[in-house]
Subunit: 413 residues, 2 copies
């Protein structure tokens, strides 16, 4: 089954927000065996919305839209789609009651402007949206379908899972588009390609793609339009080959987060972790605590942004800071040792570096980062010079810190 | 001037990565007076790439693509665009030399696979890419233009700024599409709409849109196709009206980050800031340190994820934790006081809450967060119950913490 996605909102084309809905729809639909063959974004303009939806309908007969269902004047998706199907908008009494009830629960009177949200194209199926005021709408006529979802990501996500995917499953023909990815880090794309590229012929008709990011390079294999069991069998075999060739540089599959991998390594060893970070400024701890259930391994950390905290809280000797500078092997080792000793835990990570845009020197350019990992009495320290802007350098440093600890624990007896 | 953007990569349609390039292109082009009328994404498939680029060319005559310029087999943009223009690919000696030189500088031999990156459509202008191996390409024939940029965001960004925008400026007709936004937080979209909605008629032909996110609601006014001076004058007037109506809920304009606003408030008062965070787990410090130059105000903080750090490092009395629980007004006040006293600074923020997915109770459901801000001896504490998943709750809590301190400082004598 194939469809197109049309995301609606001038803010998308103006780049004022990043279109996460398109990615989320793509992921969920692919998982359900539905191939998104094209995604388009158009502005909040009647003619643009109507043309994009009509063209997508002509190509695939099935379109999912997001956005333009709110109560304000820039919300016009419903009107344009109704016109495309030659259906009038009518006030839906049940939707209106649900809206009024929602406002009553929040202890507020319903603003008059929200009343338009109870208008639906004649004959449309209303998809109840318990998370917001705009219901989803499923309009179908002579085999052509447009499903309209709100643009607020959490509302879109809920409606997709609860109302749209089950209906799509009923229509599915048993053929799926499925991917699996092997995640690597600490190795360049072209070096990886030389190591794994030769398998491309072996795994055909599956395709292989390389996806570099600040977290490393992902290897993605995709099965297009195969039956589910055949796709799964071929994907499993291809993934096993990729993992073998990726070796120690591979740390997981699919959405696996390196922070979750490291937490799991530590959990299995009943070890606890603390972090001392300077240039990453909380980002590394933030990544670790983004993993649900991190609290049984991660006890906390110190954001030692100023040297006052490096010496005062982490016990880094001021002479080390004076002699070698805050971005040095000596200081990063002392930070890791200090934070590990202070909180008496098994594992510790430390990061210090120059994230820019200023602060670089000829000897220590912007992007220079020292990392240290401790596991018991085992220690590794590493210097890296990361490319990119401040955000990228901080993201790469967080990932590299986690990777250093991952490799240290894996090598431990 | 109008154009379309086509982003290429199966990973985009499969939702494995979020398409940040589309947003970045939209923002940069709008700033240069170029309207992106449509954005499409297609998979790494020859027919899909060729159809999307051809249709976009038919509509606007000018297309910018990203992605599919790498050295691997899934990279096929160049070949399809060359075919669309009936131009052969030829090996460009200068590009090949630059590639070989790049590998030499990195101390490595060039893999054979990278040689294809030196092939360019006959007659194309090569846009030098100092950040990566894939150059950009500008193909132009009988008034139709396709500009191909690499998909790696930092490379795309560099080529856009240095090679594409200057060339577009030369073609510009003096008419621009410009937006300004007023950022608000701590107020609901519909409440805001009732306060500001009436200005929509006053500001026409400018349009107004409401953009809700975890950071609050942005109000965006856009001038479409006006001369630059006229657009700027009308936008300034509309923005001033919006700011007045937004009142204390408005904290800035355009891309203004609330963390930067708070850092600037503190900098003007020569005050320094520390943070004690539990449920946000480093995210709040990470947001603050994402602002370049944060180090003259922000000295660091404690990620007190485990109660051991709350009592041991932040001096929260164990009786408070036992009696009221870690997520309570008493504990958040003690955390703020403890971290402020320990580091002897003027301003402090503390956050403790239940980010979920587990850990909620009837009395303290998932999303319950206590926030405290201190400025000198002034203190404010606030309980909020945030909607959304773990990530959204943590993002909303970070924003609300910054907002609490912003309002406290603004009210200080």
């Amino acid at each position: 089954m194939k469809l197109e996605v049309v995301t609606i909102g001038s803010e998308l084309l103006l780049g004022q927000i990043i279109d996460t809905n398109a990615a989320e729809l793509g992921r969920a639909l692919a998982g359900a065996g539905v191939e998104v063959v094209r995604h388009s974004s158009v502005a909040d303009r009647p003619d643009a919305i109507r043309a994009a939806v009509a063209e997508a309908l002509d190509r695939t007969g099935f379109v999912i839209t997001t956005g333009g269902l709110g109560p304000t004047r820039d919300d016009m998706t419903k009107k344009e789609v109704a016109a495309l199907f030659n259906k009038p908008l009518r006030l839906d009494a049940a939707v209106l009651r649900a809206l009024e009830e929602r406002f009553r629960r929040l202890g507020r009177a319903m603003p008059a402007v929200n009343r338009t949200q109870a208008e639906v194209p004649d004959g449309a199926t209303v998809l109840a949206n318990p998370r917001g005021t705009a219901p989803g709408l499923w309009v179908e006529d002579r085999g052509r379908v447009v499903v309209m979802l709100p643009g607020v990501p959490s509302e879109m996500r809920g409606l997709l899972a609860e109302e749209v995917l089950p209906r799509l499953a009923e229509r599915s023909s048993g053929v799926v588009v499925r991917s699996r990815t092997v995640r690597t880090t600490g190795v360049a794309e072209s070096a990886l390609a030389e190591r794994v590229g030769a398998i491309e012929d072996d795994i055909a008709p599956l395709t292989l793609a390389y996806l570099p990011s600040t977290e490393g390079v992902e290897l993605r294999v995709t099965a297009w339009g195969l039956r589910a069991d055949d796709a799964e069998r071929r994907l499993a075999a291809a993934t096993a080959q990729l993992r073998e060739r990726a070796g120690e540089d591979g740390y997981g599959e699919d959405g696996t987060d390196l922070a979750a991998v490291v937490l799991e390594q530590l959990r299995a060893r009943k070890a606890r972790l603390v972090v001392a970070e300077s240039c990453t400024g909380g980002l590394l701890s933030g990544r670790i605590t983004a993993v649900p259930g991190a609290s049984d391994v991660f006890i906390g950390g110190v954001v030692a942004y100023d040297n006052v905290l490096k010496s005062g809280t982490l016990d880094v000797r001021p002479e080390l800071l004076d002699k070698h500078g805050a971005v040095s092997e000596q200081v990063v080792r002392a930070m890791a040792e200090g934070v590990q000793r202070q909180f008496a835990v098994d594992a510790a990570l430390a990061v210090t570096g120059i994230a820019g845009p200023t602060g670089g020197t000829a000897e220590k350019p912007v992007g220079t980062v020292w990392l240290a990992a401790r596991y018991g009495a085992d220690v590794r320290a590493l210097r890296r010079i990361f490319p990119g802007d401040r955000g990228e350098i901080r993201a790469r440093a967080s990932q590299a810190a986690l990777d250093l600890l991952r490799r240290l624990i894996a090598a431990a007896p």
